[in-house]
Symmetry: C2
Subunit: 610 residues, 2 copies
């Protein structure tokens, strides 16, 4: 069966793959110039240096309201020996911006002019030559270079161009990118309407993401209709299209599996594969090829892989074409909240959330899967773990490439611990009120939240830890683990915990006792979560051995994940909060009311953010 699998003939490290690709094509001379109006040029790249056609100002003009005179006529004027001028002859009224009358070279402000009659005025101080006059070319001299080639035209630049009499400029043509999604399982989100997705069908989102990234980089894109997994069809489209586009991106099928046809398609189209496989994670199954001297890139289908492959390999080509140098993302140093393991030989892109807790910037690693698109939409930054490292340790700060401005990140309120839907409402309220603050929450369970406070890794923690001995919530564990950290407990909500059960309760589950029945599968929460503590307490109270419950050892990390497991049929029941059951329309057997508190270190209680 292993004969069904192709293999990567030779994987390349990122830098080598990039160099092979960029050097193979003459990207810097690919784009011709086109002429556009100055207004249309904003955001575009100049194809040639631009020189001023006119000087600005184009004439000597009054810079003040007043009278224009010959400076020489004013010499010696004083309050003892004022000098008089005849309007229309030795002096002329001028308003700001008006041209200086022939022969006049100074303006005296109207406030310093005494009117003696309709025809005669008097001054009591001399003027120096060119006083209050904007002279020709003071700003721009005709023929001077305004901007060098490859300059990006910004809003301000249009002012200089127009003032210099330049109203059309030559800019680099926009790079044209063809995006071809492949895969028979793909569905358009817009085709879903109200019906749900059949199992095995996947919503095609990569073409939209990559298209937006192309536009963000100054390119234009055409989305080809999705192609089925068929080398012949893909080859035909690539062969026809590559000449009309500056880049062709084929999404999906770029790996070396039995159903990956991009490599075969490129070869059938007469192309040459330059690189197949890059030692990066996510993004390994990237393919770089030349089809009749046109660049074609096989983009992996997992969303995070697609983004990394684009940014690391396609974006530099788009920059080179346009003559701009992409600025590396700014980096900061941050302390990882836990060890980041990594595979030797692979350069790994770990997405992290950041927060400034006290004086320290902490980096909380997000899920690693290449399929987890929220790991990049929720990320504040990316940590690159080099190929020659097996991981990063929490005791050493790491460089984080920022995806958002640092000032914005520093206004993240970092919440770690148990999740309640109230936190989402809070996050939305913070945005509605335009506070500039964001809520950055990680749902790892109550006890892990308390530990994060102890270790200085968060601003606050959500917790609902029952003390079985006295029925109190949170106080016992706070006293046990946070003896050295003064904190305040703020009750956010009282909520109902209960058994979430498949809609209609087909298994007729009436309580914890029924969980031990044959054919009933339970789905559990992880150790240290408030819900797990509650379960174990309820089981102990009833004398039910955990080992009798099928699925006790299967752990989920959030209420919603438990609810989904029940909804999807993976389990028959799980313990969780009523709002999670309500959200997914599950049946709910109430067990108890519990207190959900926010634990806030005293040092943060009085900060403006709180």
């Amino acid at each position: 069966m292993s004969s069904k699998r192709n293999v990567y003939l030779s994987m390349k490290p990122l830098a080598e793959a990039r160099a092979l690709f960029l050097d193979h094509f003459d990207f810097s001379h690919r784009l011709a110039a086109e002429e556009v109006s100055v207004a249309e040029a904003v955001g575009r790249i100049l194809a040639e240096p631009v020189h001023a056609r006119l000087s600005a100002p184009s004439y000597h003009g009054a810079a003040m309201d007043g009278i224009a005179v010959r400076a020489a006529d004013t010499y010696g004027a004083s309050d003892l020996e004022p000098v008089e001028f005849t309007l229309g002859k030795s002096a002329v009224h001028v308003n700001t911006g008006e041209p200086m009358p022939e022969g006049m070279n100074a303006v005296i402000m109207i406030e310093q002019v005494q009117a003696l009659s309709d025809e005669t005025v008097r001054i009591e101080a001399p003027a120096f030559p060119w006083q209050h006059v904007r002279r020709v070319g003071e700003d721009i001299v005709a023929t001077e270079m305004l901007f060098p080639r490859h300059h990006r035209v910004g809003p301000y630049c249009t002012g200089a161009l127009l003032a210099a009499g330049v109203h059309r400029v030559a800019v680099k043509r926009r790079p044209r990118v063809l995006i071809i999604p492949t895969g028979g399982e793909m569905v358009q989100a817009s085709d879903l309407d109200e019906s749900d997705l059949a199992p095995g069908r996947i919503i095609e989102s990569n073409s939209t993401v990559l298209g937006a990234l192309v536009e963000q980089m100054g390119g234009v894109f055409v989305r080809h209709e999705g192609l089925r997994d068929d080398a012949e069809t893909i080859a035909a489209v690539i062969g026809e299209a590559s000449g009309n586009h500056d880049l062709v991106l084929v999404i999906g099928g770029s790996s070396a599996g039995a159903r990956d046809f991009t490599k075969m398609a490129i070869e059938r189209a007469g192309g040459e594969v330059l690189v197949h496989g890059v030692t990066i994670m996510p993004g390994k199954p990237t393919l770089l090829a030349a089809v009749r001297d046109h660049p074609v890139v096989g983009i992996p289908g997992y969303p995070v892989s697609a983004i990394i492959a684009f940014e690391e390999l396609v974006a530099p080509a788009l920059e080179l074409m346009q003559g701009v140098r992409g600025e590396a993302r700014p980096t900061v140093l941050a302390a990882p909240t836990r060890k980041i393991a990594s595979k030797l030989g692979m350069e790994e892109f770990v997405r992290v959330r950041l927060g400034k807790v006290g004086e320290r910037l902490v980096a909380n690693p997000l899920p690693r899967g290449a399929g987890t698109v929220t790991s990049i939409t929720r990320a504040d930054g990316i940590v690159r773990v080099p190929a020659d490292l097996e991981g990063l340790h929490p005791d050493r700060e790491v460089a984080v490439e920022l995806l958002r401005p640092l000032a914005e990140i520093e206004r993240n309120i970092v919440v770690v611990g148990s999740h309640d839907l109230c936190l989402d409402v809070l996050a939305d309220l913070l945005k509605e009120e335009q506070t500039g603050l964001s809520l950055s929450s990680s749902h790892v369970g109550s006890l892990a939240g308390i530990m994060a406070i102890r270790n200085g890794l968060c601003h606050l923690a959500g917790s609902h830890l029952l003390d079985p001995d006295d029925g109190s919530y949170n106080t016992t564990d706070v006293a046990r683990y946070l003896a050295d950290v003064p904190v305040r407990l703020i009750n956010l909500v009282t909520r109902e915990q209960g058994l979430m059960i498949v809609k209609g309760n087909p298994g007729a589950i009436g309580g914890f006792e029924d969980l031990t029945r044959d054919g009933v599968t339970f789905i559990n929460r992880q150790g240290g979560s408030g819900t797990r503590v509650l379960l174990d307490y309820e089981l102990a109270k009833r004398g039910i051995p955990a080992g009798d419950i099928s699925g006790y050892e299967t752990e989920e990390f959030t209420h919603m994940a438990v609810a989904v497991a029940v909804m999807s049929g993976a389990a028959d029941a799980g313990l969780g909060i009523r709002s999670a059951a309500r959200a997914l329309d599950l049946d709910f057997l109430p067990v108890t009311s519990e207190r959900y508190d926010l634990i806030i270190p005293e040092e943060f209680v009085d900060t403006p953010a709180m």
Copy 2:
């Protein structure tokens, strides 16, 4: 005559003016929501929180190519006790992404499966539950909040939205801005064609600059045709338009002069002036008003004033409307290259060029005039001088708000001194070669360049200082002023200096002797410039007293400025280089050939930039 002038009734400090304006209108509730596709939503602001419609993945799917099994069936498998499966019954072939067959909860990678026959396979290790399975909701759980309101949709976000089955979202409508240029002297650059600008006519550029800034902030704009200076007409347009736009900007006429009609027009339109005059420079003549509860802003006509007024007063309103908080520009500390004087009581926005010279970031102030648009297009940053300071001293670092990324600024090569057109060619070549480097040059004359090197304010200086005693160039002054700074002299060009004379030489100027004739006006260069040294040398050689030359005391700072003075008729002749005369089509009487060198401190000679 002073009765012709209106006055600012009460000028306000910036913060107060801004608060008066922002608080007067309910900006945050001004924009309704509109529904757009996810692709169209990129760059837009969510009007509501968005929740997932579907889970992602929406089904339990294989995360590897291999066989799907029940994990429980594999327990105990080892190389000594392998377990066999029957394909199609206890095991099913799956490819990555395919749904898990009913009842199966683990995938074994194809590499770890031995094929015994077409029907039977064998494994030698157990699988744990959900091994190599992407479970429902692993990425996104249906109903969960994906993004809070007021979140700006980026390219990545489209991936999460589509994966969650969301293909249309409610975003804030784009703010609509009407831009009305006023002033009878205004001309459209596109109307110029090949004809030049008549004296007194000004190219209207502000509406293009402000329109581009509006678009950059997510708004749309309509440019009204230019209006003459007539309060009645302006009032009619404002009155009709203000209800259909979220903001109206009236450019020009916002000051308190005799021909400034914006205030009058707003009052005739039934509006209320909230603020007239803001204590900022540039930008003082800004006017903030409400016309029937609609915001109208009078924008000053000078280009830099218009930009500052927009960014400080209009931009915050656009942000508030859209529910986003504008990030303050990042700031750095830099040492001013000279004293920055400033008017007490006015908050001044000084544009500066920045460069990293050695370990120090230096800030070189650009011209201060509000009319000098190149002072902002050439700027790397802005220094705000508070109203209660009279200026900033070079011995104290100042905070500079960055207009470009710091990494880019740190690649500026700072050139101070005499100018040669070769420097522009060099600047363009640096961009053509995509070196990432920029040339940042200040033209202050040769000697000032040498002083800048002595004070550590530049990377290199252009110089052509003649030693009249031995006819050598630069070496004498370098020895005199740079005794402590090891430098290298690199000859960039040998060029011709001569008298630039009005085309056709109507004054029949044949040499320096003719400069003393009645009716002949000379235009000089500033002391310390190489050209001034040359002039004084040539005059001395001929025994011509400087005092006999009319215009000897009128100084310009560049060759091109001298050429412009001659071209515009302000002077009959000036001394300068042939290329300047050629650029403006002047006659040229050669005087001498001179050496133009680059002076480079040894410490920079071997840097990659050089």
